[in-house]
Amino acid sequence: MGLTAFLAMVRKDLLLFMSDRRAVIVAFAVPIFIGSFIGSITGGSGNRSDRPRVKVAIADEDGSTMSKAIVANALADASLTVTAVNGAEAKDRVRKGDSAVGIVIPPGFGDGSLQALRNRDAARPQLSIFYDPSRQIEAQLAQGVMTQHIIGALSTALNLPRPSPPFTVSTEPLTSGDNVPYNGYAHAFAGMGIQFLLFSALNLGIEMLVEREKGLWSRLRSAPVSRFLIVSAKIASITIISLMTLLVSFGFAMFMFKVRIAGSVIGFFAVAIACSMMAAGFGLLIAAIGNSPKTARGVSTLATLVMVMLGGAWVPTFVFPKWLQNVTVVVPVRWAVDGLDATTWRGLGLSSAVMPTLALLGFAAVFTAISLARFKWEEA
């Protein structure tokens, strides 16, 4: 009888989930939509032509042979998108956010810089650079690239060989294999999949509070089923729905954006299942400590957003300050994202999934234990 009751409870939860159009959209369509968007702006599928360029507005007020050579070099640079404007327009474009950087080559810049090169006491012409303060990294990149182009133009004007460093640099993206480009969709879909599987778990936890309000809990408790069976069935159904959320997201990313489980397939599924069990524990926790569906929804949505933000689901944790990177090991989402990243685009083996899986199972156990301790089993 126990198995029949268990299956009836799981089946009921799955039917209810599938019959709720809003829940299905939140679980499946929304993470795909947001994952596609974030993936496209964070590296895409590795197509180099898709790489973002720094937008630079250049005003050549000098018009000399050298300044024209500088502009021509900048226009040919693959890391820049150059717009030729006048001085006022350069400033205006940066202020409006149309360009990250504005550069004004003042009148006499070419001659002045040549004289300053020949005579150390000569006045040095001033190159004006304006930048968008919200895009400082792009400004620094543009400044470095433009310095290179100016030195190149000066060398040409002096009939000197173009200066080059006395070494060569080999750069190689460390992805899952040789000539395998970084796929930004892998991280984006991991992050969004985890975020929305938590939302699915949250909804199922709140559904338990709704069941209590509607008297369904009384009917369930009046049946000859143990508390262990009730909790086990709820964990099973939330785990299944959470896992479906994650796998549908990844399935779409594999089909549409060529995301691959380049590392351990077993490791990937171990992390995915452990993450879904953690979400089940989270759902139970909401049902245990929530007073009413309305208040529980507000608080748990905030908790979920904080967890996914600190866990690196939106932006990778390596951009966080060091102290925050250390602190976020207490956030379960961090382990889930790291585990999925390791087994997908990083192409790492099973050992890379062990710690994330154990950590997520640990969180699942802690959440479930707190839920059971706080759960209100009796009601008049």
């Binding site: 029949t4 009921k12 509607k214 008297g215 369904l216 009917r219 508390r227």
Partner: protein, 245 residues
């Protein structure tokens, strides 16, 4: 047979049920009457195993009920005051779930669903979602869910709240049919005419205590005027006229 012996339940300093004893015989309907907050629902909850009594015990066919998974609970069916149904599921899917909780599966479950839906007149709407049902239909399905597993004892907690006269009458017919089949029914209600029509015995409870446990005629005999006054007058005489909020 259902027997409740000296059960007590408190919530902090509030004594919800105090030393309540009653018996419900097979083929009989016992009405449990009382003002708001009298302890009716707490009593029903203790019988259904939703809450554990601090003292006393609940006996089903002479055996004490104990624990969440006690197989004796299969002998009891609960029809809660709330419409305890999943609106997004069909009537069939709801019954499939509730039947599964009692271990029903396969052909036995199909037969039980058919019988229960036929009894409450919803066999033609079996595949429709509950959210499309009227209040009366939901009440009847609520009843069907409680008797799906063919319990010997049926606990009905205000099962006719908010239904039209036609549905109420249909529910009464169902309950009279169940009595004829030998079921023991415990029925809580605020509607005196329901108790007058259905109950073989009436237990009046107030302040958590049983203040009367008698037949309808026996209750009438307790007040001046005897059989000339309504059950409501008898009830008000026994419980007083002060408001219970």
């Amino acid at each position: 047979m259902l027997e409740i012996r000296n059960v007590r339940k408190t919530y902090g300093s509030l004594v919800a049920v105090d030393d309540v004893s009653l018996t419900v015989e097979p083929g009989r309907l016992t009405g449990l009457l009382g003002p708001n907050g009298a302890g009716k629902t707490t009593t029903v909850s203790m019988i259904a195993g939703l809450i554990a009594p601090e003292r006393g015990c609940v006996l089903v066919n002479g055996h004490p009920l104990s624990g969440d998974a006690d197989p004796l609970k299969k002998k009891i069916g609960l029809v809660p005051q709330d419409l305890a149904l999943y609106d997004e599921l069909s009537a069939r899917e709801n019954l499939k779930f509730f039947g599964g909780l009692y271990g029903l599966a396969g052909l036995a479950l199909e037969d039980a669903m058919k019988s229960a839906l036929t009894l409450v007149g919803l066999i033609d709407r079996a595949r429709d979602k509950v959210k499309t049902f009227s209040g009366g239909m939901k009440r009847r399905l609520n009843l069907a869910a409680g008797l799906l597993h063919d319990p010997d004892i049926l606990l009905l907690d205000e099962p006719t709240v908010g239904v039209d006269p036609q549905s109420r009458n249909a529910i009464f017919d169902n309950l009279e049919g169940l009595k004829r089949r030998g079921k023991a029914l415990l029925y809580t209600t605020h509607y005196m005419e329901e108790a007058e029509r259905l109950a073989d015995r009436i237990v009046v409870i107030d302040g958590g205590k049983v203040i009367a446990n008698d037949t309808l005629a026996g209750l009438h005999a307790r007040v001046p005027g005897g059989g000339n006054v309504s059950l409501e007058s008898v009830f008000l005489t026994l419980t007083g006229r002060s408001l219970r909020d």
